[in-house]
């Protein structure tokens, strides 16, 4: 792969897209009772606000989205995105149609990525369709869909004070699965961050805790990008992301920022690619 991400330009544009989607005043109907038609109409509206007039084709091979049919915990719904066609996927977006800010996450893959499988944890506020939209290197868009039953995930209180929730903010850990030489390495990135949704009430002031969430997360192997995540309030507190990368022996660098100016950087040593 030889492409490079035009980082500054694309991230600005994406950040703007996320914010715009979040602020677009759309009268969401009660999610549980919506008809298939209403859901489809909503998706078309959201898709247009994110992707403009670009065509999005259905796929059942380029991306699959796995989520529990009924969430055990609406504030932490585990999602798996499977993209088996290595070398074709440039980026993937996760959209939770009925969330207050539907555009949950956008991953832009770099040359060190192996986008075969990606896991993350999200909040789900209502019975909703979830969409995964991949962009291939030839600039085409493909979508897959999954319906999830959950409610209250964005407004669910965290069960601790804001101060407690912010303890250790920016701490990170990375775990590497055992691997064979020449094969991609599976890794788990854990970030301490409350990812306040802006819909949770402060326990002392009884006012809503302002939204404070990881809006940008870049993971690189040496100077080769693995992925850049543009995030929003739908990502669960203490974000955990499972991904895979092509190791070259260099340390894994993680740079994170949040929407209130927080900046954190950590470096992790992956297992050696040779034995």
């Amino acid at each position: 792969m030889t492409f490079r991400i035009g980082k500054t330009v694309s991230s600005f544009a994406l950040g703007l897209a996320l914010a715009t989607t979040a602020l677009t005043p759309v009268a969401w109907a009660a999610g549980a009772s919506d008809t298939e038609q209403e859901r489809t109409a909503r998706w078309q509206e959201i898709a247009k606000s994110i992707f403009g007039d670009r065509q999005i084709a259905q796929t059942d091979s380029l991306v699959k989205i796995e989520a529990p049919a009924r969430a055990l915990d609406a504030a932490l719904v585990p999602i798996t995105l499977t993209m088996p066609k290595d070398g074709q996927i440039k980026a993937v977006s996760l959209i939770i149609d009925d969330n207050p800010a539907p555009y949950a996450a956008h991953f832009e893959f770099g040359p060190a990525a192996d986008p075969a499988e990606l896991k993350l944890r999200v909040r789900v506020n209502n019975y909703t369709d979830m969409h995964a939209v991949v962009e291939t290197h030839d600039g085409k868009l493909y979508e897959a869909k999954q319906f999830v039953k959950a409610s209250g995930g964005c407004s669910a209180p965290m069960g601790m004070s804001d101060e407690e929730a912010m303890k250790g903010m920016g701490d990170m850990r990375m775990k590497f699965a055992e691997t064979q030489p020449g094969k991609p390495v599976e890794a788990t990135l854990m970030v301490r961050h409350p990812n306040f949704s802006g819909m949770q009430m402060n326990q002392v002031t009884r006012e809503y805790t302002p939204a404070r969430y990881i809006d940008k997360l870049t993971v690189s192997a040496g100077d080769q990008t693995i992925f850049t995540l543009t995030g929003d309030i739908s990502i669960s507190s203490n974000p955990v992301i499972n991904f895979a990368f092509k190791p070259d022996g260099k340390p894994i660098q993680v740079a994170a920022s949040d929407n209130q100016g927080g900046r954190w950087q950590h470096s992790f040593n992956p297992p050696s690619p040779t034995n």
């Binding site: 796995e66 529990p68 055990l72 915990d73 932490l76 585990p78 798996t80 896991k119 944890r121 209250g152 407004s155 669910a156 209180p157 965290m158 069960g159 601790m160 004070s161 850990r173 775990k175 699965a177 599976e186 788990t188 854990m190 301490r192 949770q200 009430m201 402060n202 326990q203 002392v204 009884r206 203490n238 955990v240 499972n242």
Partner: protein, 322 residues
Amino acid sequence: MTASAVQPGALAGGRALSRRGTLFGGLCLCCLPTLGRAAESFTLEEVGPGIFVRKGLIADASPENADAIANIGFLIGKTGVLVTESGGSLADGQWLRAEIAKRTPKPVTHVVLTHVHPDHVFGAGAFVADKPVFIGHAKLTEALSARGEFYRSRLIDLLGEDRTGPVVYPTMSVADTAEVDLGDRRLTFTAHGPAHTTSDLSMIDSGSGLLFPADLLFVNRIPSLDGSLKGWLTEIERLKAMGPARAVPGHGPVAVDLAPALADLTGYLTALRDGTRAAIAKDVPIDKAVDSVARDQRDKWALFDTYNGRNVTVAYQELEWE
């Protein structure tokens, strides 16, 4: 109060049925047999001298059961009545208030709010007119501030506003231990560290020696984890050290021998802890761990399939940062 208001099933069901009847042309016939069963099961047992407990249903909150799912009750002292648990809704609390009135003319002077969960606090609204002392953990006020309205709106969706009741806050807060004297019996309260929730309060009655651990002790019904798994195992040791022989669990039979009940609870929580740790160590992600951890406990607990996966989700988040 009218006779029909004595039992929450009858009270609540009557209203709900007429409203549903209007809305759906009386199609909700499904509620009738359930209501009958629920109402029959609402009886109080005397578990010690002057101590009455109603066994909660082993079920989730539903329009038919008025969230009467916790073990609630009261004890009668020389100077007044202390409500050990108020109920899961205003309707449930009103039923309990009527039952108290049948047994004693003494005033209700104290109502315990054992922790933040809705099945343990929404009955309190039925006692506001008695102007009792509402006793709670020092952390209960902030927990209720954060979650009370959230729980209330969920309960209103199920039961309607009339049957749900207000969020009632503690007026006496216990940071460590506290005592209440009812003349002929003393109640000793202990505020626990994060365990089942972050606001667990237990009580021992000097008159009977009974421990009221509330939801620090689940029997038969699968425990639900909403505080700290490691903390809960610590607090279990503390309950043992208090030395009581018998206890009134938050869910399950109205009274049990404490040692074997705590052993069963420890068995589940240990399986949850060790299984989740093993999953984390083997890089089993959370979505797979929820289907594999603590499966050997499945036959031992009612509602296992409803709550175990959620418990694993909570435990995983606590233990993955160890």
